[in-house]
């Protein structure tokens, strides 16, 4: 019976979040969104602008989060951002290159680049732009470094599930003296990114990139729902602590 109640509680939280997201996206569809400033995203937009101006390439790395694992959410957030960045760079000379450490992500990245190319109608799609570079953490890093080094890349976005091997990627970007923005759902990787990347996304910021680059009402609503749920959690933790304290006294 406990399993049923836990299931119902989980369903309640997801249903509440979904209802809030839909309700807020309808209520606020005509209100211009107001976001907390994330300097890393602002600099990413500037770097993407420079990529288009100087005819170089944007490199996006989606990490190693398998689609059948819980780590897929960060990779899906990276794909969402990739689609918007591919649209923004479609006026440039070269399409972005996308590297992944998981085969299904590589296929989805090719599909995303193809869709961006089709909708812009400006450049032909090159399937080799979305590629698998390695299946183990360090082979993935070793396979990605040549793409950063040799393919006229002037800005890199590393967004997805990385481990500490992300340090090798940020170091490769640093050696080329180009821009890098990195974010991971792995805590150890976040510490490495904070120490080694020019710009870092920490915690839930990695899921907000899509909304900041080009937001729809549902993206904006999802950020508001995150904030609401965060306050609810804080209140629940505080109340729980007070009840535990009262019980101990």
């Amino acid at each position: 019976m406990t399993g049923i109640w836990v299931g119902l509680a989980g369903f309640g939280i997801v249903f509440l979040s979904a209802a809030l997201m839909l309700g807020l996206s309808i209520l606020r569809r005509k209100t211009p969104p107001v976001y907390r400033d994330i300097p890393a995203i602002t600099r990413l937009r500037q770097a993407v602008g420079l990529v288009v101006e100087d005819g170089s390439r944007l490199h996006v790395s989606l990490g190693r989060g398998a689609l059948t694992s819980p780590q897929s959410a960060s990779a899906l957030a990276g794909l969402s951002l990739l689609r918007r960045l591919a649209d923004l760079t479609s006026a440039g000379d070269q399409a972005p290159i996308v590297t992944s450490g998981e085969a299904s992500l590589a296929i989805l990245s090719q599909d995303t680049l193809r869709a961006a190319s089709n909708s812009s109608g400006l450049a032909s799609f090159d399937p080799s732009a979305g590629r698998l570079t390695g299946l183990s953490p360090f082979s993935y890093a070793a396979g990605t470094i040549p793409a950063i080094r040799d393919e006229n890349v002037s800005a890199s976005l590393l967004l997805g599930n990385f481990g500490v091997e992300v340090g090798l990627l940020t170091d490769a970007v640093e050696r080329k003296n180009t821009f890098v923005l990195a974010g991971s759902d792995n805590l150890a990787a976040q510490a490495v990114i904070y120490a080694s990347a020019q710009e870092s996304l920490i915690g839930e910021e990695i899921y907000a990139g899509g909304a900041y680059v080009e937001s729809g009402p549902l993206h904006t609503a999802s950020l508001t729902v995150q904030d609401l749920l965060r306050w609810l959690l804080i209140a629940a933790i505080l109340v729980g602590s007070l009840v535990a304290l009262a019980g101990a006294l």
Binding site: I4, M21, A77, H219
Partner: protein
């Protein structure tokens, strides 16, 4: 901006509908895994079937990904691009490993343990040096209070964890400060970050279920 053809639009609608329906079924299967009396529910069985299909597709995706990897490196060799010698080495190693696996399937893991693992371990060693250098560079690149706290914390954890020659454990740092930083301060911070990421994961999943983000079918 090009308008998609009728056929492309139909495929997009169909893929979106299938993806959303599959997502909802899997989600419902997690929440209602058991019937009231105890046995596994139909939704849970559907969830397992859909996940099995996903695993089969992921296995096939790996095969497609490796073909794509060979194509990328073959193109590099054909166009004699920079570092194409490494591409040649990669393709030869891949072919060699494949043939060895076919000839001696029981010993195929040996290549991984005798070649791949040592190489990855050496990359880990390179990473240690890279991170030390990055930490020093951090002060030059981003000199602020948070950077100073980050570096002091890293130094204290290092001093408290690694036994020092002739000194052993440092009193006060090894027995009190390191556990306090690692278990109380870092533990609390890590839980906060993980809770935030769980909320981010939830809303990202819902955006995909609503079709606002569509990583499949390639459209927004």
């Amino acid at each position: 901006m090009k308008r998609p053809s009728f056929f492309a639009a139909l495929i997009t609608i169909a893929s979106t509908a299938i993806a959303i329906a599959s997502g909802l079924l899997v989600l419902a299967g997690y929440f209602f895994a058991q019937e009231a009396g105890g046995p596994t529910s139909l939704l849970a069985e559907l969830r397992l079937t859909l996940l099995d299909w996903a695993l089969i597709l992921a296995g096939f995706a790996t095969f497609v990904g490796i073909i794509s990897l060979i194509q990328v490196h073959y193109k590099k060799i054909r166009l004699r691009q920079v570092s194409s010698i490494y591409s040649l080495l990669l393709i030869l190693s891949l072919a060699g490993t494949f043939l060895y696996g076919l000839a001696k399937p029981a010993q195929a893991g040996k290549i991984f343990t005798t070649l791949q693992l040592p190489v990855e371990a050496s990359l880990m060693a390179v990473l240690t040096v890279t991170l030390t250098y990055a930490s020093i560079r951090l002060l030059r690149r981003r000199f602020n209070l948070l950077t100073v706290i980050f570096l002091i914390t890293a130094l204290l954890i290092l001093l408290g964890t690694a036994p020092l020659p002739f000194l052993g454990n440092l009193p006060g740092i090894s027995d009190w400060m390191r556990p306090f930083i690692a278990q109380v301060m870092a533990g609390a911070g890590a839980r906060g970050i993980l809770l935030g990421m769980a909320l981010g994961t939830l809303t990202t999943g819902l955006r995909i279920l609503f079709g606002a983000d569509r990583p499949y079918g390639g459209n927004k």
